[in-house]
Every structure is written in C-alpha cells, then in structure tokens.
Symmetry: C2
Subunit: 179 residues, 2 copies
C-alpha cells in the first residue's frame, strides 16, 4: 500500500509544514513516509506544493507521480494541479475555489477551510491545520492519535489550544461532508 | 551541475528548516532545488536527516545518493552517515563530534557550531542558522544574498536580529577555517 498526497495552495499557507506533519504522523503509525517539495521555474508562478508519500513498505521511488489525495486551497493551485490525480482519487478544494468538472471516479469535496480558520478558530494562519484535520477524517490516511501528536510536536509553544481547536474544526467539517 | 547535500543531527535541531532554507535560496539564485526528508524505521534511532538537491537543470532523479556536502551536528548522526559522502565531498562536523578518519579526498571541517549558537548568539535554537552560515561560506552552494533572504522569509517574526546574528557568526567561523 503506497499513497501519494499533494498539498497545493499559495506560499505562506503552511503546506510544507502540513506535509511534514503528515509524514511524521505516518511514522507514528508505524509506516514509512517521505515528504518533499521542489522549487523550480514553476514555483515562481504563485502556486506552492508539498508532497507526501506514505507506504507500508520501503519507499524506493521517491517521486509523487499521480497523487490519490490532492488538496487545493487556492484557485491558482487548483487550475495548475487539478489534472494530476489518480482515477479513484480524493480531491479536496477550498469552497472559494471554482472547479467545473472532475474525472469520473474522483471524489470531490468542497469545504470552507480558509473561512473556518479565520472565522471559527480565529486565525487565518491555522488554515493548514484545519486542512490536516479535514484530510485526516476524509481519507483516514493516518490515525487521529498520530496526527494530533505530530501537530503538537511541530507547532510553536503556546499555540497548542489554537491548533487543537483548528484540528477539531477540520474533523467536524469532514464529518458533516461524510454524513 | 547537481549538488546533493545531507544535513544530519538530532530531531529538534531544525535541520528540516535548514534544508527548506537552502532549497529556497537556490531558487532565488535561479536554480532548481528539491528538499526532502524520509521517515522510516531508521528515523526512530535518534538521528535525523534532511536532504537538498540543487541543480542548474531539471531534477529528474529526486533522491540523494551520495552527498557532496554533509553536515553532522551530533555523534549519533556522524556515526550513522559519515560513510556516505562523495570522494571529493565537504564534510562539516560540530566540534563535539569525534571522527577518526575520512576518505582520501574528502575535506573535513570541524567547527563549534552548537557552542557558538549557545554562547555567542545566546540561543541554542539557532544552531541550524549558524550551520547555514557556515555551510554557505565554505561551499558557496548558494549566494549570501539569497540565503539571507531565505532565512528571513522562514523565521518567526521578531527573531530577525537573532537569526541575522547567527548567520553572521556562521560566516565568521567559516572565514576563520578558510584562512
């Protein structure tokens, strides 16, 4: 079992950190993981991406080729990356993003991730943590226990309650979508 | 021209962040870069590593195979990774690390990186930034201008002076070593 995940949005949304947190959670779950981001001419275009590979086995090929989990928090990122998703992939976009169609077989989820961070949790900077909660609940790619531990190990001291709240709100949004 | 760099030490020393900063600096220099870290059984042993590939061309093969720049901030990391360095590589270790021999052709630098962070800059947490300054000056792998911009874009607001000082002290240590 190998899962490829791509997190896309704009620079400053904390997607690299989100990728690191997923990779650490996978390790806590007893799996192998690899987190990476590449910078090249395409990184100058306003879309940012972070990638994670999670596997029960050793990760021989360290490149994301066709993610089965894709997040797009911005229109620019969605426009750029929406075509690259596996046939039975899970595609999560922020509700501010427009997307007309997806491939047959792809499950699309549209959720108010940015708005929840700003209006419910109260800090736009935790949108990445809301997204982590949402993705975790929708995909079950890592356990809740491990993701919580990984989040807490990677955030600045003093922001624990804020980030726990962000994670919970992400779970909640996903629970509503799954009903 | 492709350069592979491996930064090793213990978890909590900020080596992933250091890798991200190098990768962003390379982008600012007009190059392509890839930053990654893998987590697996070996990550449970107390040694942490982050990897960066910098290239003038597109990075087709995204795996570090034989780094030409290797940093080890702890004994455990050095013991584990010292054998994997290219024949003409640059190997930088903290002065607290013991290493009896290196391969012919490898240039070894031993520097008080951790001590400088604690005693000169005044915060052990900036050891990664001291290391960045040191590596930049020794290897010239990225420009000073770009590394400074990349450091400032990735550190918490309010810590600019501390981190600039850490970078300067890293340069200074390297200048002494190169004399």
């Amino acid at each position: 079992m190998r899962t490829e995940m791509r997190l896309t949005g704009s620079g400053g949304q904390g997607l690299i950190l989100a990728g690191i947190i997923f990779a650490e959670a996978a390790l806590l779950d007893g799996k192998n993981s690899l987190q990476s981001q590449s910078y090249g001419p395409e990184a100058r275009g306003g879309a940012s991406k972070a990638e994670v590979i999670i596997s029960n086995e050793e990760i021989d090929f360290p490149k994301v080729e066709m993610p089965s989990v894709l997040l797009s928090l911005t229109q620019v990122a969605c426009d750029k990356y929406h075509g690259e998703i596996s046939d039975d992939g899970i595609f999560i976009i922020d509700e501010t993003v427009d997307l007309e169609t997806v491939k047959d077989g792809v499950k699309l989820y549209r959720a108010p991730i940015l708005k929840t961070a700003t209006e419910v949790v109260g800090k736009s900077i935790v949108a990445n943590i809301v997204a982590i909660g949402y993705i975790t609940e929708i995909t079950k790619i890592v356990s809740r226990e491990s993701i919580e531990q990984a989040v807490l190990s990677r955030i600045p001291a003093g922001t624990e309650e804020l980030n726990k709240k962000a994670l919970q709100e992400g779970y909640k949004l996903a629970e509503m979508a799954l009903k």
